[in-house]
Every structure is written in structure tokens, then in C-alpha cells.
Amino acid sequence: MKKLELGNILIHDVQFSNEGSKVENGVLYVNKEEICKIALEDENIASCEVFLARPGESVRITPVKDVIEPRVKVEGKGGIFPGWIAKVDTVGEGRTHVLKGAAVVTTGKIVGFQEGIIDMSGPGADYTPFSKTYNVVVKMEPVEGLKQHEHEYALRIAGFKIACFLGELGRNVTPDEVKTYEFDNIVESAAKYPNLPRVAYVQMLQSQGLLHDTYVYGVDAKKTLTTIITPTEVMDGAIVSGNCVSSCDKNPTYVHMNNPVVTDLFEQHGKTLNFVGMIITNENVYLADKERSSNWSAKLAKYLGCDGVIISQEGFGNPDTDLIMNTKKIEAEGIKTVIITDEYAGRDGKSQSLADADPSADAVVTGGNANQVIVLPPMETVYGHLEFVDTIAGGSANNIDAHGNITVEIQAITGATNETGFNYLSAR
């Protein structure tokens, strides 16, 4: 049996400190210089600024590169973000401390159509899960002439390092609550729960190219075959995001670490179902890859003896085809599916929602229509670069009026229609 304890240190405020960064009585104290020093270790980063954003403040963060939760491995093999910050030891066992309620939000312009808005208050705040976290916003600018590949890499790694630095502050803090996730091997679990339906989680990972990539233990997901991972591994950062396009339905690293399908299946594990494992598969551009990867999803689901699976998607358009292939093939094995997706039904809600469809996908959870238009009132403070708002997805030219109101589609809002079911939005 595998066991991972998540010790949640509940963070209810974040403050700057001139002394060393620390966690005390649920307050995260952040020393700007310490953060900047970590960012500037990378010679490709020319400058770094740190801001704090709390729920309810009149603050807008944009464009959001990634959101990361500070965690630290206290007991057990390996460390957080294996393949990047830690070595590639298999993680997911022992004890991990979490600064629950805090998040690192990285921002910076990699390309001219960078996207992702987090409003900490106002109507936009309802649509993003990250208006409820105490955010340490890190804005980094690259050295002149840095190529987009290297720029994305620099921001990604800096985010992980800073999250680990902050997570480390919780190493010796007594957690407010400890959640235990136990995971049996398939022989043990079959013996323990002979009468419960066997359920796996099939997670589709964005894997199409620059700004569209996901990594598993440091490996680019588009170069992987569909495989099995134990669900506790993701809680230690085994899967990370290099994806910063389509902010409403991409999975920031924070979502991978807190994968809600994993948590909610664990919740039912041993009660109404037997959670037997997690299958990760990719969403490549090349059609033969899609065929192979979905064949393998179905094969592994059958191999695990599944009665049912939940399939989650990431992104728009191309992945609809992977989603339908996975669903059709898994259903064809006699395994029942529920899929989580989101919709692009047009601003009027009248267009065809998905780019692919099949009658076997008869149980769908939707994250909502990403084309819904929203007016975001001006915020007192903007961290990042507001000038991109008119070139991002769901924006349009001249979409800022004289009063500073921005008219965008909710696809511009980070996490609005998340396809792992991280958010509460839906549509009918």
C-alpha cells in the first residue's frame, strides 16, 4: 500500500516582510529580495518584481503564465516537481506539506497574444478559482533578444523554484489538517473491495508544441505513450504545465497538483467505487499519434479491469478529437465513461459546441461556454501587462471603453471553464 499524507498549513493572509520569508500563524511573509534573487539566478531573466494579491482586492493580474502551489516534501522519497527541481525519484509517498490557500502566479510576456486574466474582485473574480487564493505575483522580464522557447522555459522554471522556496517555509510548521491518501496495488484493492465498481481516471494532457506542452517527470508529454501513474504522484508535482494558451481550459500546474478528479475519486474510494488508478494520455497534432494514444487508453483501462472511467480534456479544438476517440474506444470495451469538457458555442450560445461528437459520449460534464461575453470593470491596480487584453483569445480590438471597462469572452479568464472540473461553471 502507498500512503501520502498532505499536511495543509492553512494560509489566510500574505504580507511583505523585510526579514526572511516565513510562515507564522497562517500568514505567509514574503521577502521580495529573496524571491527576486531566485528568479535572477537565471541569466535569461533580466528583471523581477513581486506583488501580493489578496481575495477581494481591486487587483487584476494579466497575462498569467502559470499558477503554482507551494509544497514541500517532508517525508518519503524524492521531492516536489521531479525532473525539474528534484531528481526523478518516484514521488507520491510519505508526507508533503502544503501552503493551502497560497499560490505563486507568474506573469510575463512571452508572445504578443499572451492571455490569462485573474481579477481578485468584481464579476471576473467569480469565474477564476485563483481569486480565492492569496497570490504571490512574480513578474519577470527576459534579457533582450531571448527566444520564445527559452523565455517560456525560464518563466516556468522560475515559478517552480519560487513555489518550492515558499513551500520549504512550511517544512517545520505543524499543519492545521492532515489528509491521508492511501493507494493499494491492483491485487490488494481487488481483494479489499471485491464488490465495488473499478474506476480509473483518464487524464488527457495538452501536448502540441511551444506554449502547448505538459511534462511528466520532466518528459515532454507529446513524446510519451499513454501510461499509468499513481494518483498520489501528481500531488507531489509529477505533472507540470508548460501550457499558456487557452487560459480558460488549460491546466495550470496548481490544477495538476490539486487535480480535482483525483481528489473526488479518492473521496469515494472504498465507499461507492474502487479507484484503481490514473491513465495519462496526450493530445498530439499528428493524427496517427491520436489513434495510438487512444488505443492505449482503452487498452490500459481494460487491463486495469475498469468498469468505468472519468476522462478529462485540456484545451480547444484539436483535443476534441482525442476526447471522442478515447470515449468511443473505451466505451467499445464495455467500460462506462463520463467525460469533462467545455464548450465553444459562440457568443450567442447557438453554435455547435465541440469540434467532434459521438453518441457514445452520453455522459458529459461541461465547464461552460467559453465564448460567453463578460464586461470586466477597471481595477485599481494591474500587475502584468494590460496592453495585451485586446489581442488575447476572447478579446477583440478596441474592447476597452472610455471608463476602462473591458469586454472579453470568459475564455480569457484563467481557469474559467477548466476541463478537469476544477471550477463550478457549467452550461445547459
Binding site: V111, G112, F113, Q148, Q208, S246, N284, V285, Y286, G317
Partner: protein, 126 residues
């Protein structure tokens, strides 16, 4: 494998044109999709997803698609994918009228990396 990259992206033409067969034309995103659709109805096999990338069809002006050069029987799944892609592209009605050159170049770059990721999947090449 004999294939052609159908594109309206000058960067793909310049960067990949020497090594691979590139069918470049200065046409719209939608016209690239339609050109590929006609090839598929003519019996060519679609090799990459026409909606590659999460950048929305009304955001980026650029699109590159890999198509098998060989002729065969029309593949109904390919036809369905390309038709659905055109329908999907059409529903993003609000277009960006202008963009600075720097943004244009970024879109060219992203499209190039997407098609390169597909090229890496063709076993005979790498």
C-alpha cells in the same frame, strides 16, 4: 512517407521548405482549411489535426496542415475532422482586424512549432 505541408505561413515556407515539400499560398486561415478539405475529398489522407494549437481561429491568421501526397480512397473520418474544423473555425466570428508585426511573427512561430511537433512524429524523418 511522401507528404506535403499546406500552409499560409511564410515562416514554415522559409524554415521547412528546403527539407520538405511545402505548398505555400498567401491565403486566409479558412482558405487553408478548404484547400485541405478538397484534397481529402480527392482521396488524400489527413495527417495532422486542422485545429492544431489552442490559439483560436479568429486570433491567428496562420495555419499549416500535413497531408499525405498519396491518393487513395477518401477517408470518412478525415472528412469529418476537416468539415468539423471548418464549422468550428466559422463560429469564431469576431476577427482581429490588424495586429502589429511582432504579434504576427509570434503567431507564425507558434504555427511553425505546432507543425514541427507533428513532423517529429513521422518515423521516417527522425
Amino acid at each position: 512517407m511522401k507528404f506535403v505541408i499546406v500552409t499560409n505561413n511564410p515562416r514554415v515556407r522559409d524554415e521547412l521548405g528546403k527539407e520538405f515539400e511545402v505548398d505555400f499560398a498567401d491565403i486566409t486561415y479558412r482558405e487553408v482549411l478548404c484547400k485541405v478539405r478538397d484534397m481529402i475529398y480527392g482521396g488524400h489522407k489527413l495527417l495532422t489535426h486542422p485545429l492544431s494549437g489552442s490559439v483560436k481561429p479568429n486570433e491567428t491568421p496562420y495555419k499549416s496542415i500535413l497531408v499525405d501526397k498519396r491518393w487513395g480512397k477518401m477517408d470518412p473520418q478525415d472528412a469529418s475532422i476537416i468539415e468539423n474544423s471548418i464549422i468550428t473555425a466559422d463560429k469564431f466570428s469576431v476577427k482581429f482586424p490588424e495586429m502589429p508585426d511582432s504579434v504576427r511573427e509570434d503567431f507564425q512561430l507558434i504555427d511553425t512549432t505546432l507543425i514541427k511537433s507533428a513532423l517529429m512524429s513521422i518515423p521516417e524523418i527522425f
